[in-house]
């Protein structure tokens, strides 16, 4: 069994002391930011990106991944106990979870959230391990035209799934792509849009954009609308589920895992979309559907399983094609490239430690989360007592040091200020930052593939329609666009609150 041997190798990597430690750090940080509203994984990962440079690539990615899926666990805790979704992906958990807490079943809700997440995480780990190498084989037959069309599809989906106006989101995607053109043209060496600034010849700083638009802009927005922190009322109650609750949860967890795994692979998909999809499904098909609105356990079990499954399967396009499915994955691409690893189909072969180590660490991380979460719920809730006035200067200082230490250049700090103000403006105008970040990462890759595809086709654009893979991608993108223009679908999406994270 190749798969078993490879997974064994992966566990060998994941279980080294250093990697275990960083996996734990990632999970703890992830849980913490999941609990705290107003700090998301995108901001945290961009914040911690520079800190990971000193680490080997595998360790760095293991930790960053831990933050991402850890946040899904943490987000559910406050959603259930305080009706306060720590993450976008746990918004739907508040619907049934908080009702359960009000009925005195908070403990059961927390248990099923953790157990469901763990089950889904385990399944998703196996899925990534089994399908990754297979998809990699498929990916090797991707030509430049196919890559271009796939990225195009990813951009369209990320825009379509973003909150608010589709046209504005596509506008932000294209803006991101244009921003990616700044710097030295990789083929001709021409300086583009650099205004003679040497710091820009290598492009606009990715971390500066991410920290400005997600870190700084978020601080400012949070300061403007001081959030009333509700204090925990009532008791958690027994963590034990009743036999009845357990029995009802099983099918919901299974369905949630399936939905989440599938939606996670989609370019532009992610945890938020998955939890919403699963909630909709449970409300339609589960046995307890008549109880929805009064605290149905299926409404916690399904979405919680789904968001965790999705946060793991969204690594598949990254690991096999080198294409980020959402903003968090875009950050991972940045982290890998800085480490000198080109994400793509050759990663499985060229970086087996990283590939299998990461997969194994996901399962290890899920186990850790289960262990650190259930007994420590009280500690996490206490975290909410830290006032925001102490949080924001800390976040700001960490951002600043992180940005500076990238290249030891203050230009990056000033660049971040500009993007902070721009990010604030964008959120006031309901222009989404996540699609822009994805556009920024994919833009230069798209240009490279477009040029190469056209060189190979001798300037004939029909190549994008003649190649079956490429044509399929473009067709799906077209359908997604048209579907969003239909009023019904749009209405459904608006409540889905997809941030891509």
């Amino acid at each position: 069994m190749d798969l078993l041997a490879n997974l064994g190798h992966g566990f060998g990597v994941a279980l080294t002391l250093n990697n275990l430690l960083f996996c734990l750090i990632g999970c703890v940080i992830g849980t913490a930011i999941g609990v705290l509203p107003g700090i998301g994984p995108v901001a945290t990962i961009s914040l911690l990106l520079p800190i990971t440079f000193g680490q080997p690539a595998t360790t760095a990615i293991i930790m960053l991944a831990g933050i991402y899926y850890g946040a899904q666990y943490g987000g559910s805790t406050t959603a259930i106990l305080l009706n306060l979704p720590g993450e976008v992906s746990s918004v739907v958990t508040t619907l049934e979870g908080y009702k359960m807490a009000r009925r005195g079943r908070a403990g059961a809700a927390l248990s099923i959230a953790a157990l469901g997440s763990f089950f889904a995480g385990s399944v998703a780990t196996i899925l990534v391990a089994a399908s990754g190498p297979l998809l990699t084989q498929v990916a090797l037959s991707f030509g430049p035209a196919d890559y271009f069309s796939l990225m195009f599809l990813g951009l369209i989906i990320s825009a379509v799934l973003a909150q608010g106006s589709v046209v504005k989101s596509i506008g932000m995607v294209v803006f991101g792509v244009s921003l990616g053109m700044v710097g030295t043209d990789v083929q001709t060496g021409q300086q583009r849009f650099t205004f003679g600034i040497p710091e820009l010849s290598d492009g606009v700083g990715f971390v500066s954009i991410a920290m400005g638009m997600f870190g700084i802009a978020e601080i400012i927005l949070n300061l403007e609308r001081p959030e009333a922190r509700s204090v925990m009322s009532g008791k958690v109650g027994s963590l034990m589920m009743t036999r009845e609750e357990f029995r009802r949860s099983i099918p919901a967890v299974l369905r949630g895992t399936t939905v989440g795994s599938l939606l996670g692979i989609l370019p532009g998909g992610g945890a938020a979309l998955a939890s919403f999809g699963s909630y909709m499904m449970e409300r339609k098909v589960s046995k307890g559907r008549h109880e929805f609105g009064t605290g149905a356990i299926e409404g916690v079990a399904g979405p919680e399983a789904a968001n965790n499954a999705a946060s793991q399967t969204s690594f598949i396009p990254l690991l096999t094609l080198g294409i980020p499915a959402n903003a968090v994955m875009a950050l991972m691409v940045g982290a890998l490239i800085i480490q000198g690893i080109q994400p793509g189909p050759r990663m499985v072969e060229a970086q087996p430690d990283l590939f299998w180590g990461l997969i194994a660490s996901m399962w290890v991380g899920n186990l850790m989360l289960l262990v650190i979460n259930l007994p420590m719920i009280g500690v996490w809730v206490k975290l909410l007592a830290v006032p925001y006035r102490h949080m924001y200067p800390s976040i700001m200082i960490f951002c600043a040091i992180g940005v500076y230490s990238l290249q030891n250049n203050v230009f990056d700090v000033y660049q971040t200020v500009v993007f902070g103000i721009f990010g604030y403006l964008c959120s006031k105008l309901r222009l989404e930052a996540a699609p822009m970040l994805i556009g920024f990462v994919l833009g230069p890759m798209m240009e490279e593939h477009l040029r190469r595809a056209m060189l190979l086709s001798r300037g004939d654009p029909m190549v994008f329609l003649e190649r079956p893979i490429s044509a399929t991608m473009l067709a799906i993108a077209f359908i997604a666009l048209v579907a969003m223009l239909l009023p019904n679908v749009r209405k459904g999406k608006d409540s889905a609150l997809a941030e891509g994270g």
């Binding site: 250093n18 430690l21 440079f53 000193g54 680490q55 080997p56 690539a57 595998t58 360790t59 090797l140 037959s141 991707f142 030509g143 430049p144 030295t184 043209d185 990789v186 083929q187 001709t188 060496g189 021409q190 300086q191 040497p198 010849s201 290598d202 490239i337 800085i338 000198g340 690893i341 080109q342 793509g344 189909p345 050759r346 060229a350 970086q351 087996p352 430690d353 490279e448 190469r452 060189l455 190979l456 001798r458």
Partner: protein
């Protein structure tokens, strides 16, 4: 397996990074991690050789040496970055025939460094010939096949590690000999280019021997012709360009450089350690396997060599009409 070296280097990195062995106690160089910029995407000759050298220097200097790939524009993006870095011995770059020989002419007017005066050149690490390889199912086995394909209506696509590389010039000069321009497909480095050739998106590639050698041995690509005067000792079965009736030969070289103004003791130490490392039997054997010859020049000789290379390539590039556009 190049990753095996990389992995050991990574494991070694993790110890000082978290264990705290590199704490800034002594101000003497080397006390900080060293960044070695590779101006190509991972997987090419520059990258393979840089990772070998990084592992060797790390062991000998006692600080971590981190390889950083900064690809683009004929290796000029990464080289420019190195030229701008502080000359404190913590930023080095793999200088090579593209960034420090041919690109200054190919990217004339766009390049923003002087290949000689903006750098401290430390050591020539490896020289090796160029080899042309073909996809297994492309039907191309000899240069005659390639020439016939080139003259046909569809023309011949040839991948390279980027415009401005010696491999690129080989494509241009081969086109002149064949009598029809070849369709040059530049990549960000030999790694992604080789991937496209193996997958069959591009039928041929002009590559430096070290990055192609493992693929030739594995049989994932077919070697067509070696651009050396004699048959290569490591690949005696591969005929040369001359044998096949095309009078072409091309060597590429790769070395270690840093920004201008690195203090002499640091240069001396780096040169000594690099030379000692590449002359160990294990590294010599590895170089032979890759198809390269270790360099022996002093820093001064390497600087002179680069000066002469820039001067030699300028008229050749102009005569060939090679451009990056």
């Amino acid at each position: 397996m190049s990753w095996a070296v990389g992995r050991r280097a990574l494991l070694a990195c993790s110890v000082p990074a978290f264990g705290g062995a590199t704490r800034a106690s002594a101000q003497a160089w080397p006390s900080q991690p060293i960044r070695l910029i590779v101006p190509f995407a991972p997987g090419g000759t520059t990258d393979i050789v840089a990772r070998l050298v990084a592992a060797g220097l790390q062991e000998r200097l006692g600080v971590s040496v981190v390889v950083e790939n900064r690809a683009g524009a004929g290796a000029t993006v990464g080289s420019e970055m190195a030229a701008r870095a502080a000359p404190d011995g913590t930023t080095l770059v793999m200088s090579n025939i593209a960034s420090h020989g041919i690109s200054p002419s190919v990217y004339r007017g766009r390049i923003r460094y002087d290949a000689v005066t903006d750098f401290t050149h430390i050591a020539l690490v490896i020289t090796n010939p160029t080899v042309w390889v073909a996809n297994r199912d492309s039907g191309i086995r000899t240069l005659a096949d390639a020439a016939a394909r080139a003259r046909s209506a569809s023309g011949l696509d040839v991948a390279t590690s980027g415009a401005g590389s010696s491999n690129h010039l080989m494509v241009v000069r081969m086109g002149q000999l064949v009598g029809k321009e070849l369709n040059h497909i530049p990549f960000r480095g030999a790694g992604p280019a080789m991937q496209a050739v193996i997958a069959g998106q591009v039928p041929m590639m002009s590559d430096s021997l070290p990055s192609a050698s493992s693929h030739i041995r594995q049989g994932s690509v077919v070697p067509v012709a070696m651009a050396s005067a004699e048959r290569h000792p490591s690949f005696p079965d591969v005929p040369t360009f001359r044998e096949q009736g095309f009078d072409l030969a091309s060597d590429s070289w790769f070395g270690l450089s840093g920004p201008a103004g690195i203090p002499a003791p640091i240069v001396e130490r780096l040169h000594r350690e690099t030379m000692a490392f590449i002359s160990t039997p294990a590294v010599r054997a590895r170089f032979a396997e890759l198809g390269g010859t270790p360099g022996t020049m002093t820093p001064a000789a390497y600087t002179e060599f680069i000066r002469s290379e820039v001067a030699t390539w300028a008229p050749l590039v102009q005569a060939s009409g090679a451009t990056a556009d």
